[in-house]
Every structure is written in C-alpha cells, then in structure tokens.
C-alpha cells in the first residue's frame, strides 16, 4: 500500500480510474433502475412499491460500506501513518452520509404503504439513524480539527479514532433484525440463498454494482480535489513568502 503513499503516483492511477468507475457505474445503475421499473413484475403483496428496493438496498450497502472504508482508512492512518488514508477518510464521509440518508428516506417512503407508518423506533431503523448521526459527527469533527502543514486536507488522528469507534455500529446494524424482534424484515439474501425471487432480484445486481462503482468514482474525485487544494495552498504559501 505504501507504493501509493506518494500522491503523485496515486494521482497517476486515480485520474484514469475515476472515468473507468464513473461511466460504467452510471450506465449500470441507470440500466438497473430502468429494468427495475419496467421489466420486473410487481410483488405479490407489496405491489409496485417493491421497486424501491433497487435504490434502497444499494444505499444501505454503501452507507455501511462507507463507514467500513472510514474504519479501514483510520486504522491505516493510525498504525502505518499512511498520508493518503487521512484524505480517503475525509473523502468517504460525505457520500457515505448521503447514501445513508437516501436509505432512510426510501425506507420511510416504502414503510408508509407497506407497514402503515413512516417511522418506528425498531432496532434496524434506529441503528441506521445512529449511523447517519455518526457520519455528521465525523464530518463536524474533521472540520473542527483540521490538520495543518504536511498532512493537511486529511482528517486528524482524533477523527480517525472516532471513525474506528463508530465501526462498532456496523455489525449492530447488520444483526439488528436477527438479535431483536423488529418491524423491519429479516435478511432476504443470506449465505444460504435468497428469498427474493430471481424475477425480482436480478436488476438489484446491476444497481448494486453500478452504485458501488459510482461511489468509488466519487471518493476518488473528492480525494483528487483535496490533494489539488493542498497543492494550491502550498503554492500560495510559497508566493506569500516571496
């Protein structure tokens, strides 16, 4: 990994990779959404509302995956002092928070016709809301304890520790419907197979992959923007010193 510690070497790979993630990702997620809207049948109980699944599930996956990424970046920052890890943590936070919010919003819209309520304080919904607050806290802490000098643009060590601590919530979200009685249904897709019929399931693969590639592209773009900002500031300082 330290091969990429050098921002110049990282940028050389990140620049073309951004496009390779962005456009196929966008194509896949649009194709998946279109297939999910027009090609799949309605569910026997939920009817048309089942289609929100093609957005809701990738959003939940990326909300949780984003924090897992923050935790891994935090570990690399704290243990190996990897300079890009701090930048990656900061780059992941905003899209992670956005997808968590999308997950909560789509779940709420689906919950009204299905369960008969917009919101209930059951284990899954509460732990997901906690994840959103963790993201907001992480962003606030990163802004409040911004780094100066060499590692600027990345998150501070305190923020990294917060990212590591917050990772405790990820297995709790995952297991919340198994450990506790909850209104949210149990896991549909497990190691033993899927209880979602293939006719409904297949576009989910497209949107999951598409949104994930897209998420990667957004993170790379944000990392590049932070590194570019560093360069600008370094040059301004040189100029100011004359």
């Amino acid at each position: 990994m330290h091969r990429f510690a050098n921002p110049a070497r990282f940028l050389k790979i990140a620049r073309p990779l951004t496009g390779w993630l962005f456009w196929p990702g966008l194509a896949l997620l649009l194709a998946g959404c279109a297939c999910g809207l027009w090609l799949t049948p309605a569910d026997y109980l939920q009817g048309q509302t089942v289609r929100i699944l093609y957005i809701h599930v990738p959003a939940a996956w990326l909300g949780m995956g984003g924090w897992t990424g923050i935790a891994i970046a935090a570990l690399m920052q704290l243990v190996w002092r990897h300079p890009l890890a701090a930048v990656a943590g900061r780059a992941i936070a905003a899209p992670g928070a956005l997808f968590t919010a999308i997950c909560l919003a789509t779940g709420s819209i689906w919950g009204r016709p299905t369960w008969g309520t917009w919101w209930e304080w059951d284990g899954r919904m509460t732990s997901m809301l906690v994840l959103l607050f963790l993201y907001l806290g992480y962003i606030a802490l990163a802004n409040a304890s911004a780094r100066q000098g060499a590692g600027q643009g990345g998150v501070s060590n305190v923020t990294a520790i917060f990212g590591l601590v917050g990772a405790v919530n990820i297995p709790i979200i995952n297991r919340s419907v198994v450990w506790w009685n909850s209104l949210h249904q149990g896991p549909s897709i497990t190691m033993r197979g899927s209880s979602i019929d293939m006719a409904i399931l297949w576009p989910l693969g497209l949107t999951l992959l598409g949104f994930t590639l897209w998420f990667g592209a957004i993170v790379l773009m944000r990392m590049r923007a932070i590194l570019a900002q560093n360069k600008v500031e370094a040059r301004m300082q040189r100029l100011a010193r004359g």
């Binding site: 049948p41 002092r81 309520t117 284990g123 990772a167 909850s182 209104l183 249904q185 019929d197």
Partner: protein, 148 residues
Amino acid sequence: MKAKHQRLILALAALVALIGAGLLAASALKDEAAYFYAPGDVKTKGVEPGKPIRLGGMVVKGSLKRAPDGVTITFDVTDGKATVPATFSGIAPDLFKEGSGVVAEGSFDTKGTFVATNLLAKHDERYMPRELEGMSYNETTREIEVDQ
C-alpha cells in the same frame, strides 16, 4: 519492536475491546431493544393488563372476523408457541391479512384480550411475482415451493 508494530497492537487491542463492549451491550439490551412482544414472551414473562406494549406475530388463518359495526375486527396472533386473541377498531393497513405478520400497539384487558389502538403490517423477507402466489416459502430450505 518498532513503533509501527506497537501502534498496530494497541489499535487491534482497542478494537477487540470496543467490539467486545459493543457485543456485551447488545446482548444485555436483548429484550429491552426488542421492538415488540411475541405471544410466547407474553405467556412466559406475563404482561400486566393496561400496560402499553406492542404485540407482534402472525395472524392465525381463519381467525379474522369483522364485527357488525364494520370497523372493529378480531383476530388471533400467534408465534407458534402461544396464541392470544386481539381486537382493533379502525383502518388496518393494506398488507394486514390472515397468515401474514402484524405488529399491534395497545394493551391487554383484564380478560387477556389484546386491545390494539394501532396496527402495523409486518412484511417478511419474501419477495415474489404475483404469478407465484400459489407457492410458499420454505423457511428451512430457503426455497420457494409449490403449495400442495
């Protein structure tokens, strides 16, 4: 030992302690964090009449009856271990029907009937097209089978 290794051990020890603490907290919460009581829980633990709770389970097939006033329904809720009668006046959600899951908010009266003030339909993890409605989902094999 290099400083890097020290940090690694420290970070991993902290992570193990954190996850341990999280798991302990979650297991201690077990019942407190449950969203509803199942009829089996009501039977083993006992819930005093009048205490507001949520009751969750399956609506027993053939138990749903509509009272002559048109808005009151009675039904039985089961979790396979116990069954309790319930009554509700008002508009039930569309997905509320016999053989599917329900979460009812309300309290028990003195005769042991659950008086619901609000009904929520609980959706299960099965998703299938309408054409497959004559089929059912096998919990153990996790496959969709044709009803006999």
